[in-house]
Every structure is written in C-alpha cells, then in structure tokens.
C-alpha cells in the first residue's frame, strides 16, 4: 500500500471517529421565545417550543428537569421569557450539567441592535449578545449549541463563538431584518427523518443546520424571491460531531457483539470509499455490495435478537 493510500485510510478512520457521538452524553435544552408582535409569530414560536419539547423528551431522552422552556407569556409548562428568567435558566442548567454534556439553547423572536449589542426582543428589558456570552461562561466543559433564529441575528456569531461551541444564526448579519423562515425549518429538521443526512438514526447539529439552510433556500426559490436570510454556523466540525438521538446499546453481549461487528463493517465501507478512485469500478462495486450485504445481515440479526428497537 502506498504512503498516500495509508494517509487516506488514516484520514477516513479519523473522520469516522470524529463523526461518532459522544458517549454517555446528556442533553440539556433551553428554549427562549421573545415578543411575537403578531399572532402568526406567536403561533410559530409556540409550535417550535412544542416540537422541541416533544423531540427532546421522546427522541433525545432529555429529562424534564433539563428541559426549560421560556415563552412570551408564562403557562403551566413554561416560564415567562424575561431577561431575569433567562439568566436564571442558564444558572439552573449550569448547576445540573456534567462535563461532556450537550447544552442546546434555541432563541426565537425578532432581533434588534447590532454587534455585541444585538438582542432578541424579550418581554421587558432585552438581553444583549454580550450577556448571553456571559451566561454561557459556566459551560466551558460542555458542548454548547447556541441557535439564534431571530431576524438580524448574525452578529451573535462573533460575540458568542468559543472553542468547542457551535453558534448558529438565521442571518449572516444584524442587517438581514426581513421575516425569517429559518426557525420553522430548523425545528422541523430536529425531528430527524428528512434532516438525518446519513440515515444513521442520529442527527448531528450540522445535518440539522444544512437541512434548514437548504429548505430556506428552496422556499425562496419556489416563491421566486430574493434570498434575504443567510444562515451561519460558527464551527462546522464541532457541529458535525455533536449529535442528538439515543445511541443504540445492548446489555445482551450477543447483540453487543453483532453491533460491534456491524460498526467494523461500516468502517470498512468508509475505508473502501477512500480507495474508490484507485480501484477498478467493477471490483469496487462488488466489494461494496459484499460489505453492504454483510451490514444488512448484521442489522437483521440484531433486530431478530431483539436489538435496535
């Protein structure tokens, strides 16, 4: 094997490791919706909160104590999204997290201001990007995903960016003030399904971001409108690494063995893909098919043994 090939395989292996979800991670969720200003936005924000709550509970296994929802008006399931309550929510979560946990913060609303003074309009005084940055400081040991889906949210990225942290905004600057569609598509993406690009049953932050960005783009294209919102992601490598969704595990050692064998086969597929350019097409296809059938057989065996449910 040539040195070049070895390097390529090593790289593939690295990527495979990088794409793997963090083991034993717990996920904590904070959703904040600001002032809606109009009934249609209120409905949209409420739907987003409900969807996120459902997904977090049922698909990501988030405990209620780690799931904080703050909305324009308080209700039986949510507190009011005042600046004080937002600060308090961060504080509460900071006391709950463990190193390696994931904290997902999602803001919905209308943005104002620019630079460090960028805000999402809240009931009462607004919090600035700088304040959010301060509230995030206690989460240095966690994997933080901060998503601001408000209009004019772009300036949050430079203010909040930090190592190991992903900041996503609906717009590229504070000046993209038109009504944004990003929230709707991003939340839909979090439900998995369509957004799960590699169909592995787990959703990476990058997959959700790419899904939403593409849906926004297509929506504008379909409507023959000029794209007035350009979503940003601060660190796509970290965004690719952080995934949601419960990783399949098995107490049954026989199933665990099958899973390990399947994972090994998947790694072989990744390695094979790395060699594709240098292989005869027919040989590549035959080997690919052999591996894929083997993976499929493992999955079937796991299922038959009561795993992957």
């Amino acid at each position: 094997m040539s040195t070049r090939m070895r390097k390529m395989m090593a790289l593939c292996g690295l990527l495979a490791i990088a794409a793997a979800p963090v083991e034993a991670q717990r996920t904590h969720v904070l959703f904040v919706s600001g002032l809606s200003g109009a009934p249609q936005f209120k409905t949209q924000f409420t739907q987003a909160a409900n969807t996120l709550r459902d997904v977090a509970r049922s698909r990501w296994g988030v405990n209620d104590s780690s799931l904080l929802i703050l909305t324009e008006d308080s209700s039986s399931t949510s507190r009011r999204s005042t600046r004080e309550n937002v600060a308090d929510a961060f504080l509460r979560l900071s006391r709950r997290v463990q190193p390696g946990d994931v904290l997902l913060v999602l803001l919905a609303g209308h943005g104002s201001g620019e630079g460090p003074g960028s805000k999402v309009n809240l009931p009462g005084p607004d919090a600035t990007a700088t304040e959010y940055a301060a509230w995030l400081q206690p989460f240095a040991a966690q994997q933080v995903v901060f998503i601001n889906t408000a209009t004019g949210s772009g300036d949050f990225v430079p203010v909040l960016t930090a190592p190991g942290r992903v900041v996503i905004t609906a717009t590229k600057s504070a000046f993209e003030k038109n009504e944004s569609e990003f929230l709707r598509h991003f939340v839909r993406g979090l439900e998995g399904g369509e957004a799960d690009g590699d169909k592995d049953g787990r959703l990476s932050v990058l997959e959700a971001f790419r899904y939403a960005r593409r849906e926004v783009q297509q929506s504008y294209e379909r409507g023959k409108r000029l794209l007035t919102e350009h979503a940003l992601v601060s660190d796509s490598l970290v965004a690719a690494r952080i995934t949601f969704g419960q990783r399949a595990t098995a107490a049954d050692p026989r199933i665990a063995q099958l899973m390990a064998e399947r994972q090994a086969l998947e790694s072989q597929v990744a390695a094979l893909r790395g060699r594709k350019a240098s292989m005869d097409a027919a040989a590549y296809e035959a080997e690919l098919e052999r591996l894929l059938l083997a993976i499929a057989e493992k999955s079937a065996a796991i299922k038959a043994a009561g795993g992957d449910k």
């Binding site: 399904g193 369509e194 957004a195 690009g197 590699d198 169909k199 592995d200 049953g201 899904y211 593409r214 849906e215 297509q218 379909r222 023959k224 086969l265 998947e266 597929v269 893909r273 296809e285 035959a286 690919l288 098919e289 591996l291 894929l292 059938l293 993976i295 499929a296 057989e297 999955s299 079937a300 992957d308």
Partner: protein, 793 residues
C-alpha cells in the same frame, strides 16, 4: 454581455466636434443654398441602387469637405448628416456625427423641417421610437399636413404598436396624394395583415405615381410570391433588380414577408440570397440569423447575428438574442425519441420526464389526424424566465404568449414562469406541436387564424379539460356581436380591437374547426390544409372543401354557434364585459362589479353575485342559487363558476359524494384548475378511488409539477394501484426536484423500481444510497430483499 451604445441623444451632449471649423463657421440663416446638394443626391442614389462602395466614397468626399470647411446653412448641415448616415454601417461614430450635423441644422434654423425629419428617421432607424415620435410630432405641430412627417409617425406607431399606423399613413397619403411612399407603406401594412388584394392594388397605385419606388415593387413582389403568381413575381423582381442592381432590399423584404407568413425555411433561403447580394446588409443578416435560429441552426444563426450586431450595435433585437444564446450555453439538451428537448439545467430533468412521453403521444395522434409526419427530431425549448422566451420569439421582452411554434422548433414557458394555476404547460405543448403538423401539412401556408383554431381544437381532443372553452368573456362578446366573421378572423389575431379579442378569436377559430370536423369529418380539415399547401386562397379552399362561399360559411357557422350556445347566450343577455381573456377575465362572482368584472344585466351574473354574498350566512340559499346558475350555463367552469362554489359548500357539510359531483365539472373544463384537481385527487383518494385520484393528480401536474408532496402522493397511489411505471416516474420526479432528503428519495425510487421488477435499477440506486449511508436500515432491508428475489449478485 454585449453593450449597446448609449442613446444618441445622450451621446450628443458629450460629443466632440470632428472639426473645430464646424463650430465656428459663420452661418447664414438667410440662404439655404446647398453646396453639397449634388453630391449627397449622387451618394444616396448610389446607395439606393445598392452600390454601397460608391455611395460611401461619395459620402466621405462630402463629409471631408464638411469637416474641413464647415457649412453655411441648415441645408448643408443636413446634407452632411445624410452623408454620415450613409457611412453608418458598422461605424457608430458616423451615426453620432450624423445626429450632430442634423442638430446643428436645426439649431441654426428651427424652421428647416427637413433636418428634424431626418433626425427623427435616424432615431427610428436606431430603434429609439420615443425620440422619433417627439420629433415627428414637433414637425407636425408646425406643419400638420407634412406628408413625410405623417408617414414617419405612422412608422413609429407601427414600431411601438401604439396608435393606428394605417390611419396615420392614410392621412399622409391624403395630405399629398402624389406621395407614393405613403401608399407603399399602406400596401405593406395590408400585406402584413394578409390582405393580399388590398396590398396589390395599393402598391400598384404607388408604382403608378413613382415607377422607381422600390418599396412598392417589393410589396408587389411579395404579394406575388406569397400567392404563387410567378409571372407578377418575376416582373417585380426584374424591376427591383434594375432599380437596385447591387442591393438586397427586395430580397430582404421578401424574406421578412415570408417570416410573417411563418415560412421560416424559405425566409432563410431568401435572406441568404440577400446576404450574398449585400454582405453588409444588417437587415439581411438579421433575418437570416434569426430564422436560422428558429430552424434550430444555432451555429449559423449566431454567426449571422454576431455579424449583424457588429455592423449595427444599436440593434436591441440582435443584442438580446445573442445574450440569450450565451445564457443558453448553461441549458441542457436531452434527446428522447422523436424529440430534442432543451431546458435550463435545473428544470430539464423534471420537465423531460413528463413532456417526452406526452410529445410522443401527441405526435402519433396528430400524424393520424392530419395524415402527415413532420421531420424529426422536433426541438422543444423551455424557458424559465418570461423575458427569455419573449426574446427567443420576437427578440424583445414583453411578449405575452406562452408558447410558439416555428415549425419543427417549439419554444415554451416552463411551468414556473406563470403563477400556479395560470398555465397548463401540457396543453400548451400540445397546441404548439399541433402547429408543427398544420404548418407542415400546408407547407406553412395555412392562415394564422385557422392554424390557431386547429391547435385549440387539438388541445380539447387531447385530454379532458384541456383547451379553451366558452368563457364568459367570449359569450358576452359573441352575444354583443363583437366576434369577427370568419372572413375577418385573421384580424382578430393580427389587429385586435380590444385586449380580449385575441383570446376570443382563438376560441372562435377553434369552434370553426370543430364545426368543420363535426359536419364534414376530419378529412375536410386535411383538405383545407392541402388546399392552402397547393397555393389556394381562403375563398377557393372554402369553396372546394366546404362547398361554400365565405359568406355562406359565415352564415352556416354562425347558426351552428347560436344553436349550440343558445341558453348560455340568453343567460348573459344584456351583459357587457371588460378585460382580457386570461389575466383579467370578467368574473360573475365579482360582487363589486368593478373594473375587469362583468357589468350590466344578465340573469346568470345577478344570480351568481347573490349566491356568493349568501355563502357564509345562508349556505342552503346560496346552494339553491348556484344550482340555478349551473343549470343556466353548465359549461361555465373555473374557480368562479357555480360548480366550484357548490363543491365548496358540499365540502363544508362533509358531503364528499356531492363534492365529486361538482368538482369534475370544474376539472373537466378548466385546464388550469390546480386547487380543484388537488382537492378532487384527495377526496377520491380518501374514498378509495385510486384511478380517479391518479387521474386528478395527472391533470394537476400539467399545471404545476413542482410540489414534491404531490409527486409523492401520486407515487404512493400508483404503487397501491400496481401502476409501477407511474410510481417510478413520480419517484424520479421527486429526485429531479432536488429534495433535501436525497437519500430517502433515492431509496423510494429504488423501492419503486424493485416493485416494478427492475432489479438492476433498484440495485444500482440502493448501492449508491448505502454507499453514502451504510446505516440506513430501510435500505439495508431492501438490499436483502433484492438478494432474496435474485437481484444483487
């Protein structure tokens, strides 16, 4: 991107005089003795005879004197301007200098009208009609009977399609009964309207006044050529050759006349001859290139237009077309059977999926109908920007049409050019392809009105609901006597008196075709086309094929229409309509009765309006009224017709049986009823009527194919019904729509392929899916299933 020189008027402000002497010459306003008179006359005569080199040499001689010694009066400046004009081919500076000279003449003597007329003519020649109009109007304020200015204004009106050029030209001829050019222009307008007798008589009267008037001889030549009068054609050609031995104007005129008769191949031949006679003729190169493109000869067409544009960079038609050709380099061309389909890259895959089978079906159907098989491949181009389609068709933006047929090359709006629910791209393609057959079967000699009528008839025959039906606007126009008789129906297309007349003429012409077929059979339609092919005129064709004079045909046809629409005509009695057939059609449901709505009496309209106002408060009363309206005008469909409202009321009360009584009356008569078709599809789907639901989805996709959800629903229905080919097509359509979840879409396609027995195709898709996503469990399961069924190796 090509750049057109800035408008002449703008250029003038910054123009540096070619010679300082021109600016400082002491000019006399008293005398208009022109030192250059003989020279400019000789130069223009040489140009008129087609001796371009001689003409340019003499013109240069004149302008050289002008530039060195200046001019002493307005007449001399004007002569100099005329000399610059003669040098203007491929020389923008000469055009600017001509304008400067004319302007100096006018500045020196504002009462000297010749310079202003020449300026106006120059502007018009460089396609700046507003400036030309302003200048001619200025001359006419000073001299209301100035025959040349009136003729110039008529040319402007024709150019801008504003006003009445025929009327203005007649004023010119009346102002100076000996002004032969006005008569030649009138003759040409008659020619354009296919009024060949009038064109011939008027051109003869022009020649009687001025036997050396090439314009008039050109009209005579064109009339003779178009009507197959070879003796008269040879006479006109011989005279034209004597008058202009070195030029190509006669040939260009003929080529343009051929284009107006949709005889594009002959136009190319004639324009080619014109270019051989005068390789610097912008007009000849333009006609040649434009029509080579219409025949699908892109390389030659582009080359000719590039040459024309180099010679005249003011020509926006050529610039637009060349820019479009540049853009089309990014289009994709797909060969399918007897068709070559070109579309923007992002549209091609989706559109080809549907249009290719439709075109094949249309070809077979039309070949049988007309006993004629056009040469293949037939080229169809889609444009996803209306301006591009418009430029492809006429060289300029602003054409309101949806499709065009140049014979074996068709151009069409892509479905997304129009708003959802405004356009049926399937029926439009069928319509344009029908032209290919009727033009071909008649050797491109069928008059436009009949060709359009046949195309609309073929739309109606193609699919339920397709093609124009008796709209309210047409009914009102017919009841009001505003539909032209057959003998004048061409004018309904060529010279509409109102915006809605073109649409009404389409329908009227289609009724005529239907009448002929229903009374004499399809052979009569074929016979008419053969008659035109053999050079017969319309009265002869009518007499030989229908056994009727035009007047008799008018009477019998009118009686047939009256009988067929008796109740509907009575129902709109007393009603007046405004607005166009498509965009601003009168709506009986418009309770405002405002602009664009139907006004006045008419019990149908009154009942509809009353019913609409009662829909929410008293739905039962509204239903009774809508039922009455439905009985009065059963054929009136659309989203403002009684059946649509009745279906909505039925839906409100959950009566899906009633919904399915009314909806087909909408979807079976309105080819753009997207919402109604989707509703019908869903209601039928819920009731388990898979076939009916699929049919409704099929109708909807010809209105708007871009909804991935629609495509998936149809795919699922097709799979349920065991219609695997359709399921596969729909799954491919989802992929062509570039879904975000590509892997799922490819898996769905693989599943549909497997269900349809295409194991190899399914395997190919699956492997590529799993290569990207080896953990995709659904795909894994299908791969195992394929192996069990003997698919994968």
């Amino acid at each position: 991107m090509r750049v057109i020189p800035r408008r002449l008027s703008r250029v003038l402000a910054g123009l540096v005089w070619l010679c300082p002497a021109l600016g400082c010459a002491q000019e006399s306003r008293a005398s208009n003795t022109d030192r250059f008179a003989a020279l400019i006359l000789a130069a223009e005569q040489a140009a008129a005879r087609g001796h371009r080199e001689v003409s340019v040499r003499l013109a240069r001689q004149l302008t050289s004197q002008y530039e060195s010694s200046g001019a002493t009066n307005a007449a001399e400046h004007t002569s100099a301007g005329r000399a610059y004009v003669l040098q203007g081919v491929g020389n923008v500076n000469a055009v600017k200098a001509a304008l400067a000279a004319f302007d100096r003449a006018t500045a020196l003597d504002s009462s000297y009208l010749e310079s202003q007329r020449r300026t106006a003519a120059l502007f018009l020649d460089k396609y700046d009609a507003p400036e030309a109009r302003a200048l001619y109007s200025g001359v006419l304020r000073r001299a209301p009977d100035d025959a040349e200015a009136l003729l110039g204004l008529a040319r402007v009106e024709e150019f801008e399609s504003k006003g009445n050029p025929l009327e203005t030209a007649r004023k010119s001829a009346n102002a100076n009964p000996r002004f032969a050019s006005a008569r030649a222009f009138i003759a040409r307008l008659h020619l354009d309207a296919e009024a060949f007798d009038s064109a011939r008589v008027t051109a003869r009267s022009a020649v009687a006044l001025d036997s050396a008037l090439l314009d008039a001889w050109s009209v005579l030549g064109a009339v003779a050529w178009l009507t197959g009068d070879s003796a008269s054609y040879r006479e006109a050609q011989a005279v034209a050759r004597r008058l202009q031995p070195g030029g190509a104007e006669f040939d260009v005129f003929l080529a343009e006349a051929a284009v107006r008769q949709r005889r594009y191949a002959e136009a190319v031949r004639l324009a080619g001859e014109a270019v051989r006679r005068d390789s610097l003729s912008v007009a000849a190169l333009g006609v040649l290139g434009t029509n080579q493109l219409r025949l699908g000869d892109f390389a030659a067409g582009r080359a000719a237009l590039e040459r024309a544009f180099a010679l005249d960079p003011y020509n926006v038609w050529h610039k637009n077309t060349l820019d479009l050709l540049d853009k089309m380099r990014g289009f994709r061309t797909v060969e399918r059977g007897r068709f070559r389909i070109t579309a923007p890259e992002k549209e091609a895959e989706l559109l080809v999926l549907y249009i290719a089978p439709l075109l094949e079906r249309a070809y077979d159907s039309l070949a049988l109908r007309y006993d004629y098989r056009p040469p293949t491949p037939i080229h169809l181009e889609f444009y996803d920007v209306q301006a591009d389609f418009s430029v492809r068709t006429v060289g300029l933006n602003g054409l309101g049409a949806l499709g065009v047929s140049f014979g074996t090359l068709l151009a069409l709006d892509a479905p997304n050019v129009q708003a959802k629910g405004n356009y049926n791209w399937g029926s439009t393609a069928w319509h344009e392809l029908a032209h290919t057959f009727t033009l071909g079967a008649s050797a491109h000699r069928v008059p436009r009105w009949l060709s359009e009528g046949l195309s609309v008839l073929e739309e109606r025959r193609a699919n339920p609901g397709w093609g124009a039906r008796g709209s309210l606007g047409w009914l009102v126009a017919y009841a009001g006597g505003r539909i032209r008789p057959l003998s004048q129906l061409n004018d309904g297309f060529m010279r509409p008196r109102a915006p809605d007349e073109v649409g009404n003429s389409y329908y009227q012409a289609s009724l005529f075709a239907e009448w002929v077929e229903s009374t004499r059979g399809v052979t009569a339609l074929r016979g008419m086309l053969s008659g035109y092919r053999d050079g017969q005129d319309t009265p002869t064709v009518f007499q030989r094929v229908l056994g009727l004079s035009l007047a008799e045909a008018d009477t019998q046809f009118d009686r047939w229409v009256q009988t067929r629409y008796a109740s509907a005509i009575a129902a709109v009695g007393g009603m007046q309509a405004a607005g166009s057939a498509r965009g601003n059609r009168p709506s009986p449901a418009d309770s405002s009765g405002g602009a664009g709505g139907a006004t006045g009496g008419g019990s149908f309209v009154r009942i509809m309006r009353e019913a609409v106002t009662l829909m929410n408060a008293r739905p039962d009363s509204a239903r009774a009224l809508f039922e009455r309206a439905r009985g009065m005008m059963p054929a009136y469909a659309g989203d403002d017709g009684p059946s649509w409202f009745l279906s909505q009321l039925a839906l409100q009360r959950g009566d899906t049986t009633a919904v399915l009584t009314y909806l087909p009356e909408v979807t079976g008569r309105d080819e753009t009823a997207y919402d109604a078709n989707v509703l019908e599809a869903r209601v039928r789907g819920r009731r388990g009527d898979l076939t009916g639901a699929m049919a409704a989805w099929e109708r909807a996709l010809w209105i708007w194919p871009y909804e991935a959800a629609d495509r998936r629903e149809l795919a699922q229905l097709a799979a349920q019904a065991g219609d695997h080919a359709r399921a596969v097509r729909e799954r491919r359509a989802v992929l062509a729509l570039r879904p975000t979840d590509v892997l799922q879409a490819r898996y769905d396609l693989a599943k549909a392929l497997a269900d349809g027995g295409d194991m190899a195709g399914a395997r190919r898709e699956l492997l590529s899916v799993l290569e990207e996503a080896p953990s995709f469990e659904q795909a894994q399961a299908l791969l195992l299933e394929l192996r069990r069924r003997g698919g994968p190796r």
